[in-house]
């Protein structure tokens, strides 16, 4: 066992930009989020919101500027950063031979969750998202909306001090968007920092403590 530093949910991105060859994916942008806050990234398609989230999550090295999580460089190779950041950026790879509840039990167990109550926690989360009745389905048996809810469940099932979400509202109906908003609100009131890209003005208005407008490169 190795000791892993517990990082606070302080997110700082200062002048981070990304250029590949001659193409600018993200113009230098600042993001500042403290524990318990929700920051929404807003901007048209192609403005670089996902790139910015990937930089904050430590998955991508910025060409300019610096990104930190809890005062440490945002680098996914750092175990402390990995332990701090839960992210839904694109489709996570799921096990085709595990059911929904098995996935949640697996994640919970690898984060040291109490084995005796692991199933209950997983089922409760699925229930919150309205997909508890699908607990014994395999991922390929879900509709696109159900799949999005399952991805959110995977992301929320692991402990974290920072949650990064790329358009969590996609493929969800109005009711389900409210359910997701409620979950996000619960996480922020528990001290978690949430940074998310969002195209839904209602969701943005109800959740955002700050809004960062990401300006397209061209």
């Amino acid at each position: 066992m190795a000791a892993v530093a517990v990082l606070s949910g302080e997110v700082r991105a200062e002048g981070v930009g990304k250029t590949i060859d001659e193409t600018a994916l993200l113009l230098p942008t600042d993001v500042r989020a403290d524990p318990g806050e929700c920051v929404v990234l807003r901007g048209p398609n192609g403005s670089g919101k996902t790139t910015l989230l990937r930089i904050i999550g430590g998955l991508l090295v910025p060409t300019t500027g610096t990104a930190t999580i809890g005062g440490r460089e945002a680098d996914e190779r750092d175990r402390a950063v990995r332990a701090a950041v839960a992210a839904l950026l694109g489709a996570p790879t799921t096990y085709r031979d595990l059911t929904l509840i098995d996935h949640l039990v697996l994640i919970d167990s690898t984060w040291g969750g109490e084995p005796a109550t692991s199933d209950d926690r997983g089922l409760a989360l699925l229930d919150r998202l309205g997909i508890a009745h699908l607990d014994d389905r395999f991922p390929h048996e879900l509709s696109s909306g159900q799949e999005q809810l399952f991805r959110l469940a995977l992301t929320f099932s692991r402990p974290s001090s920072v949650v990064l979400l790329d358009e969590p509202e996609q493929r969800l109906d109005t009711t389900k968007r409210q359910v997701v908003a409620e979950l996000i609100r619960e996480r922020t009131s528990g001290g978690t920092t949430v940074v998310m890209a969002c195209h839904d003005p209602d969701l943005t208005a109800s959740l955002a403590d700050h809004v960062v407008d990401v300006v397209p490169a061209r």
């Binding site: 998955l59 839904l88 096990y95 059911t99 509840i101 994640i107 984060w111 040291g112 084995p115």
Partner: protein, 466 residues
Amino acid sequence: MPADARDGAEHLDVDYDDHELLGQADWVIGGEAARKARRQGLYAGYVLFLGALVYGFPIAQTVFRTSDAARLGQQLRSPVAVALLVASVLALLGAVVFAGRFRGPVVPPMPWIDLVLGAPLDRALALRRWWRYAAAGGLFVGALSGLTIGAGLAFAGVAGLVTMAATTVAGTALGVLASRLWLWSQVRSWPGPDRGLSLLWRVPDALRELHAESLRAHSANTSTLAGSALTGNLRTARLALTRPVHHGRTARLRAGRPFGVLVRRDVLGLRRTPGAFLSGLGLTALGGAIVTWAFVQPAAPSIAATIGLLPLYLGFGAWAEGLRLQADNVGVPSLLGANEVTEAAAHAVTPTALTAVVLGVWAGVAAFLGPVPASAGLSLLLVLVLVVAGNVMAAFRGSPTFSLQPQMVVAWYAMPALVVVVMGSLVAVLTKAGRYSWLAVISWVAYGLLAWAFSRVRRLTYLHRA
């Protein structure tokens, strides 16, 4: 040219000259290139024949070359050897049927399916060409394989010339049967009333049963396979071609400590994919039997280990879905709390334990039939280490970083298997020669290889940020 004729007062019959229409379609779609492509098929057969002559025959000869031909002949005629031969043939035919579900022998190009098959032509005639390629290929490869093996046996003094003729005939028959089973399996991949085994000898009817949608799916699968193989991304092909999981829905993953729960995940995965479990069992049983025989029996040719190592390696791979899924997840935000090396080690536990059981059973059978030298037992352990290392290397080889040329991609794919086969063969040679100091050196190299393979896990996990 179509000719119209009245048939009674109610409806009109139209006669088509199928051959002429197909000839025209050929010319419109392929032009002169279509004729050239057919000539290329003949050239491929010629190259295959030369290859068998230059490489196949000497290899087969080496396979059966031994210091004790009489004893080897006796062992090859034993019930165990015959059972293994039957099992191998059945496995081969099973693999052909399995492949036919995704990629049958009749796969015309998309324009042909969309533009020509839609015409009211006899489908048996419109598809005959692709079937003939496959049938001729099956017959040719079967005959050539039978001839090569028979000639190898005869020239090594293990059997007579009659055996050579018998293996050629048997190989030809097997080739014909395999190609027909392949077509039958392709027909069965689409629902319809006529799907019985009688289609094996009613080839024109089998061709008429091929649905345009099924042909389109098989053509798309071919593109997916070729594209995935050439770009070094086998995940796409795996996901496209594997059957969706439906078994064992009620079984639950039991929560627990991280390492244990990851091991249980793999066990549960195998319970839910019995096809993967059984194919792994078949391959490891076959490979394990040959490798054990090669290590334990003095009369066994050293190259037998080389032959047995490949199915052993592939069988382990069939059980190692957890390792591959971990590698698939590289570069996406972390969901699991276990670190990457711990996770890989946990995913290696189930296939390693199952392979060890299979090797242990074969070693037990060998011990029951005669004495087993301690060195052979230790060498089998070393083979297990190599197979684990090879599979970890294969799962975490990442993406090709060179320019994508077919030969380079093939070499890139084959490298882990090649390492296992070459190192394992070396272990067999040194064990039989009693060169224990060299064997000790090789064993350190094998353990080093295992450590290096696990270091690749970490390297690949963080490579995406570099």
